[in-house]
Symmetry: C2
Subunit: 275 residues, 2 copies
């Protein structure tokens, strides 16, 4: 199939970065469920000769546990191809010799093994979900305000995500809350930070214009990738809402019904792949 009018850029795609939650699967009770057609779509993309990486702001479990959950759903994914914020943050903490107060999900704690958390001099928040209690937020705030120069790291800046039982507030909401309380601007590790996408591109050995990001989050996936020079496709699954297509500042290079449709469009356009 030839690329549709205005979609000629699909022909130069050599690599694909896939968001996970809302693109591959919907999260929820029992770990969630695969979005129809996505398991096969991932397989087709990986078999095609394209360079495929996975990029998630998931911070409710370690990367290993997270990939294991996707394997159980039927996805054949290697841990080394998955990029998530916690390992990137641990590198930063070590480099800058920082001692974090951690407000993160219990499932993520193992990523911080060996990190000194005594007498904390910065605050780290992830998608802590139920742990975002008034008491825990007060505690994080007191660490912040007790510093001469408060330092707040946020594992992503998402507004909300979709679980099988409804929309849930994401880490960016509590980042914004603590920013306001502590009069501080958070350093974001994860999408849409350019540094984070840069690490993935480096691992792919590709130039930004050769890569397309596929996500359900218009601002963090599509907008973040576009800011780095990549193309961005928004899929109409996960947290997608029709109003996204009239967003004031971010316009996707394409909107597709789901990952299966996006993979089909890429694979039938790119000269390096199946036709």
């Amino acid at each position: 199939m030839a690329a549709a009018s205005g979609m000629e850029w699909l022909k130069s795609v050599k690599g694909v970065i896939l968001d996970m939650c809302g693109v591959l699967y919907d999260s929820g009770e029992g770990g969630g469920q695969a979005i129809p057609g996505s398991i096969e779509a991932v397989k087709r993309l990986m078999d095609s000769g394209l360079t495929v990486r996975f990029c998630t702001n998931e911070t409710q479990s370690t990367r290993e546990q997270f990939v294991q959950k996707l394997r159980v759903m039927g996805f054949d994914i290697s841990v080394s191809h998955v990029f998530s914020p916690a390992p990137a943050l641990v590198r930063i903490l070590r480099e800058r010799r920082l001692r974090p107060h951690l407000l993160v999900h219990d499932g993520l704690m193992a990523e911080f093994e060996g990190v000194d958390t005594s007498s904390p001099n910065c605050v780290v928040i992830g998608d802590a979900a139920e742990k975002f209690s008034y008491q825990n937020l007060n505690e994080a705030f007191r660490v912040l305000i007790g510093q001469e120069k408060p330092l707040l790291f946020s594992l992503g800046r998402g507004r909300y995500y979709k679980e099988t039982d409804g929309l849930k507030l994401d880490v960016g909401v509590f980042m914004t809350a603590l920013e306001y309380a502590g009069d501080v601007q958070a350093e974001v590790v994860g999408k849409p930070a350019a540094d984070f996408f840069g690490t993935v591109l480096k691992d792919m050995s590709l130039q930004p214009h050769e890569v397309v990001m596929i996500g359900d989050d218009l601002v963090n996936d599509v907008g973040g990738a576009q800011s780095c020079g990549m193309k961005g496709i928004q899929v109409r699954t996960g947290k997608y809402r029709p109003s996204d297509e009239q967003h004031a500042s971010v316009r996707a290079d394409a909107y597709m019904d789901d990952l299966a449709a996006a993979a089909h469009a890429i694979l039938t356009s790119s000269p390096t792949t199946e036709r």
Copy 2:
């Protein structure tokens, strides 16, 4: 005593608006405790012939219960002289025929008696304290995002307040969180909203330049009053922090050690009062 250099404005003061928490008392277990000298200072101001009103963003109890708590501490205050956000908001809800989803402290619920909360079409948040759980925030968010045009009311926009056991996050923090989550700008009822100060000034029958606001919150008390043309004194009690005196955008007309010192300065300068 003559007014100090640069403080000649004290001579034209005919009315005083007092913030309550952090100026009259420190809140905390058992209702809190009076700040030394403040009971006598309130009495002196009221006996002097100045018009005195109280203006609080307190939303953990009804106005009646709140005044009763202060009476137990030793303050002689009339309910009709106390202005708080909830009654002002109830008027707005009635005028605009809105049905709120309430995320407020249990102690405040009685203020909303008779207000229709079925099929909510807006969200109201107050200082809900422990009720700011992840689950309750998700619920408020879902009401917001379910509206074609989300509408969020916040009873104040304070960052934090001081209780006897430490600093606590105030409603403004959760307002900011829901603003970000729902991509909406809250309508603030209470300090520092000009409408709210305007209601108090009208009740005092005074012009703004004749009135001084005394508070521990530089931005919401002092800055808010100054925006309305009043003078503003910050007291070094409650949530005051030394860095407030180097704030980037708000500069108080005077900084005083406590309410007793502020009352003394006003009463020894104003020609209409005791010397």
